[in-house]
Every structure is written in structure tokens, then in C-alpha cells.
């Protein structure tokens, strides 16, 4: 039985940047435990000699030419912005720091 605690879910929610109420955390930790039990079955057949498939197509080397193509206009780029100023996206204060 996989056991995803409430704290585990809280940590995951933090990583995924989603606020969650106490109720949501409780609910999800129960559901996730059940779901993880079901999906953990993949380990039964994932033998070392089976290569992983990350993509259904065997494509490789898909490149484009280094050519400048028209951009959107700044009006179009900013058209969906919740707020903008000086032709820039206006966002609340950023507390963390750049990576």
C-alpha cells in the first residue's frame, strides 16, 4: 500500500505552486495512495533489459533554418496580460531570486 501523507501532498503542492486547503490535502492524500497503488504495477514488468520509450516516433535531427521570422506585435504579445506597463508584462513583486 503506497502511503502518501498529507505532508507529502503539501510538499508536492508547493513544488507545483498550488495552494491547497486542509480539506483538499486530506482528500488528495487518500486518492493518491489508491491511484499510486494501481499505477505502481508498471514496476512488475519494467525489467532492466527493456529500453524506455519516451516518444512514439523514431524521429531525430529535426532542425529549422536560422532565419528571422516575423514576431507578434507587442500589442498582440501583451494582449492576454492581466496587467502591463511600459510595453512590459506587469507582475506582482518577485520574492525568490533568479536561478
Amino acid at each position: 500500500m503506497s502511503n502518501i501523507s498529507r505532508d507529502d501532498v503539501a510538499n508536492l503542492a508547493k513544488l507545483a505552486r498550488i495552494d491547497m486547503s486542509a480539506d483538499e490535502l486530506d482528500h488528495l492524500s487518500n486518492e493518491l495512495s489508491v491511484i499510486l497503488d494501481a499505477v505502481a504495477r508498471v514496476q512488475e514488468v519494467a525489467a532492466a533489459d527493456v529500453p524506455p520509450t519516451s516518444h512514439p516516433l523514431p524521429l531525430k535531427n529535426v532542425f529549422r533554418e536560422d532565419e528571422v521570422r516575423p514576431s507578434l506585435t507587442p500589442e498582440e504579445s501583451l494582449s492576454g496580460a492581466p496587467a502591463s506597463e511600459e510595453q512590459r508584462f506587469k507582475v506582482p513583486q518577485i520574492l525568490g531570486e533568479e536561478q
Binding site: 505552486r17 535531427n61 529535426v62 532565419e67 514576431s71
Partner: protein, 500 residues
Amino acid sequence: MALKYEDVIAKYEPVLGLEVHVELGTESKMFCGCNTVFGAAPNTQTCPVCLGLPGSLPVVNGKAIEYTIAIGLALNCSIAPFSRFARKNYFYPDMPKNFQTSQYDEPICVNGYLDVTIETEEGPKDFRIEIERVHMEEDTGKSLHMGGATGRIHGADYSLLDYNRAGIPLVEIVTKVVTGTGKYAPEVARAYVSELRDILRGLGVSDVKMEQGSLRCDANVSLRPIGVEKLGTRSETKNVNSLRSVERAVRGEMIRHAELLNKGEKVIQETRHFHEDTGLTTPGRSKEQAEDYRYFPEPDLVPVAPSIEMIEKIRASLPEKPSVRRKKLQEAWQVPDKEMAAMVNADVLDQVEATVKLGTDPTRARGWWLGEIARIANEKGVSAGELPINASDVAEIVGLIEKGELTDKLARQVVEGVINGEGKPAEIIKNRGIQVVSDDSSLMAAIEKAIAAQPDVAEKVRGGHVPAAGALIGAVMKETKGQADAAKVRELLLKHLGQA
């Protein structure tokens, strides 16, 4: 009281790790066709892809792959027959998709090295810096922090985002652990970045302007007591944006670590920010709060598997190595080792070469770049290449000296004028009213005035004591405010006093 560097290296061995990010000089971005020109109006070089709009998809710029392979080859790396992009997941507002398309366990180039030479009091010393990997990723947007303390992230009320830079191709070059540099660690770090920059410039893959951020260095530093095998805890200093700063940052971190260790305290594994003004670092994000990046293969892109033919074609087109080029220049210019090293150190080799190409005598070209210009650069705390004076200015000035239209002293004024942004040499000469007084009659008037003022000296000269003329020449030069050609004054004076 800060610990002395001598005391640090007497007790500890520094271990380095250097990560250099280079913005590639492609015409278009890494995954879309937006322009990459520096300094465009905000958000004018953005599209659904580099804004990460829902539904948009990336397509790799083939040129960026070629450039990366060229860098790998120039750094003696193996080129992976199969490599992939991966998503590095973390949230940050300047990153439109909240993941960076990067490479993780399958980079394009691995296992290379770069040899560097530094000048020491015991003569030149060689070091081999081993390269772990060269991989591709994309740059982020830029944020302006508004309100509160100006421009700083802390205390800002809000931020404004410009995504013109988002999606510009970046190459990250990561060294293996660098040991064995001993007390030369700061110089080796600087020499490595300098050599790398020359290589990248030679390849033509980037404009490598550290001041504009197209080449950025993160320096990892740790100390271990001499004789101890186990590595110490490292700090990762970001924002190191000039060669000089690389050296200062490494030295500064070595001292800071040693102070902590001497006190029996622990070095914290964290990122640090380097401040150009103080030369010190301040703490950033500690690794305890480090994100779990949840890397996985980028499903929107297909693998890169360069053929042998493609790799060999790129290899064949590589330009000569900077070290080879330096040797050639040194022979052509007949420069002693020490002078050559001085030029490399002052980072003026390109400028001297360009000046010589314009027809200037190599010794004169070197003299100016290594002399007056380097002096001003030093005063301003920048490199000579960052000053607003170029090879054609210097060639023009040297030409005027040779024609006798400028004296060395006047020429220095012109150099200063160019650097102050007063215009091209010809304009400065005109605007400042600089001219060599070579008109015989006005010179003669000054000479006669000098003789009248010091008749006894004049008498000595007349009597054959030529060296005494110096005092009279000095007076003439003073009278003409330095605009006279001293040789000409001497000639006229001696003739006048019957000694020519």
C-alpha cells in the same frame, strides 16, 4: 581584519569549478524565428513560442546545434552520437513556460579540456582545465524591479517583464573539478575564462560581451586543508561579469571560506552574488531550499544525433586556436615573451592586431594600447576593450604623430578626448584647438623671448655647452603650451645660437 591571502594558501588547497554561459550569436532564437538583436524595444522580439503561449511548440535552430558542436570540438570534447533535450522544471516569472528547455543526462558534448598559461614570478605555468560537458539551453526574459529600492529585487513593489531575451540560445560549458592550481587559482580561473572567450570569439559563435551578459561565469569555489583528499563544501558565485571579477571573486571566496574554516565554522553550500563595487559576495539561495527540478526528456523535441560527416565538416571549418594565433602574432611583431603576456593580460591583443592591420607600426600600436589606454582603463576599472576607443582611432593618432602634426603629449590629449566621447581624433583636434606650433616665425618669437629671459644660459650654449639648451627649450615649450614640436624647437634654437 580580513585574512591575508598568503595565510589562506599556506593552509588550504582551493578547488574550482567553472560554469560559463554563452549566448550564441544566431540570427534567430533557439526554438522560434524571433530576432535576437540586443537592445530592441521591450517585447518586440516575442512570439507564441518564446512567450510560452498555450499550444505553441519549439523547433530547434540547426545553426545553434552546429555552433555547439563547434564549441565542443574546439574544447577537445567528444560529440555525443545521440543527445536529447530535457525539461528543467521550476517556477520563475522570467521563464515563460515555467520550465527551461535544457539538457540533462544527455548533453551534446562531453569530456574535453582547455590548456591555459599564466605568467608567474617563476615564469609561465601551464594548466589543463578539464571540461565535463557542453550543453544547450535557452535564456530567460529580463525583469525590471519597480518601486521600493530602485532596481533591486528586494523591496520592489512590482516587476515588469520583457521577453526579448527569452529563448535566445545559450550554451553552458561546465568544467570538471579543477585541482592543483594552488595559490594561482584566481589567475587560472581568469585565464580559463579569457582563453575560452578568445576561442568562442575566434569561432564566431558569440559576441562574448561579458558586460552585456552574452558571456557569464559562475565560479564554484571550495577549500580543503592541504593534504586532505575530501572536497570541502563549495559556494557558487553568480553574476561574475568581467575577467577581472572572475579573479577577484575566486580570491574573495577563498578568503571568506578560510576565515569560516579557521573559526571552526561551516561553509554553507549556497549561491552567492558578486558585487563589482565591493568585490565581495553576498548569500543567495541556499541549497537546502534547492528545487527538485524533475528533469524529463522534452517530448516536444526529437533527439539530436549528428552524423560523423556533419561533425567532420564542422571540424574542418574550425579556425586556428588562439594559442596558435598568439604565437604567430608574437613572431610577426617580434615581441618579447613578457610584453606578449602583458598584452594578453591587459586583454588588448585584438585591438593591437586591428591597429597593426591598419598600417600602424606594431611597436607603436602596442605602446598606445598597453600604455596610455590601458592606464585609463585601469583608472576606470574596466578593460581597454570596453573603452569607446577603437583601432582606427589609434591608427589615426599614430599617423598624425608620424606626420609631425601631433606630439606625444598632444596625442595623449586626443586619446583622452576620444575616450570622453568628444568625437573622432580629427574633430577633437579641431574643437580643442590642438596643433603643433611648427610655424618658424612664432617659434622664433618664443625662442627670442626665452633667450632674453635667460641670457646667461644662451651664452653657455653659444660657448658650445649644448646640453644647457634644455632649459631654453623647456621655456619655449612652456610658452607655446606644449603645442610645439620639441625637436623642431631644438633645431631652431641651436641654429640661432650658432651650434647647428
